[in-house]
Amino acid sequence: MSEALAFLMAHANTWAATALLCIGLWVVMVRGNLIKKVIGLNIFQTGVFLFYISMGYIIGGTAPIVEEGADAVYSNPLPHVLILTAIVVSVATTSLALALIVRIRESYGTTEEDDVIASDEA
């Protein structure tokens, strides 16, 4: 029992990231509201961010800033830099998605996917 718990805890970040990925993807796929889809997409991407950040962190490591004389263990900064880029991309994606939703709302009067489809078929 405790062994299983230990295993779970040792990979806590990974589990959390996986959970976020799954929740996000589920929301994207199942929800019909376009804004909720975007929120789901954000949750999904957050899962990836968490995954990258955990990857670079070393337990007991400090921020990777060189201090003279200190014999410190540094966390790997590269994944964090990478994910910063990914976060920026995510912000851009979100804003573009929202802009599109605004346009859809203006021309269809709704943000529900089903209504949009029904309105086109009518």
């Binding site: 800033i65 910063l84 920026v88 851009a92 804003s95 929202l98 802009a99 605004v102």
Partner: protein
Amino acid sequence: MNEHLIVRVVTKLLVPFVLLFALYVQMHGDFGPGGGFQAGVIFATGFIVYGLVFGIERLIKALPLPVLLFGVSGGLLLYAGVGVASLLAGGTFLDYSALDSHDPVHGQHLGILLIELGVGITVASVMTAIFITFAERWHR
């Protein structure tokens, strides 16, 4: 928000400091935590708070969309310009060391400063532009 006097006064006081802090983060980027991304977002925060409190029209008056567009493009051009300059100076693309023929370290300082400035301008302009675009539509 015309009736919220406290918010208006505090905002008026705060915004310059927000922008100043942004400038600090921007310029301190090559010595400590900070840099163009963060600074740009803080810049944009200042503008956006101003727009939220005093109304979108006044923000647009202060920062018309063409100016923002110019900021977006100009920042990117500054970034790329540094890269091209290093190319022309005989290095590879974005090789800052080549910027100063006598002291490569000095060249690197110069390069990273300019690059981050470009990033900061672009990020600040983009964020503000996104805010204005949405807010303006809603306003109509």
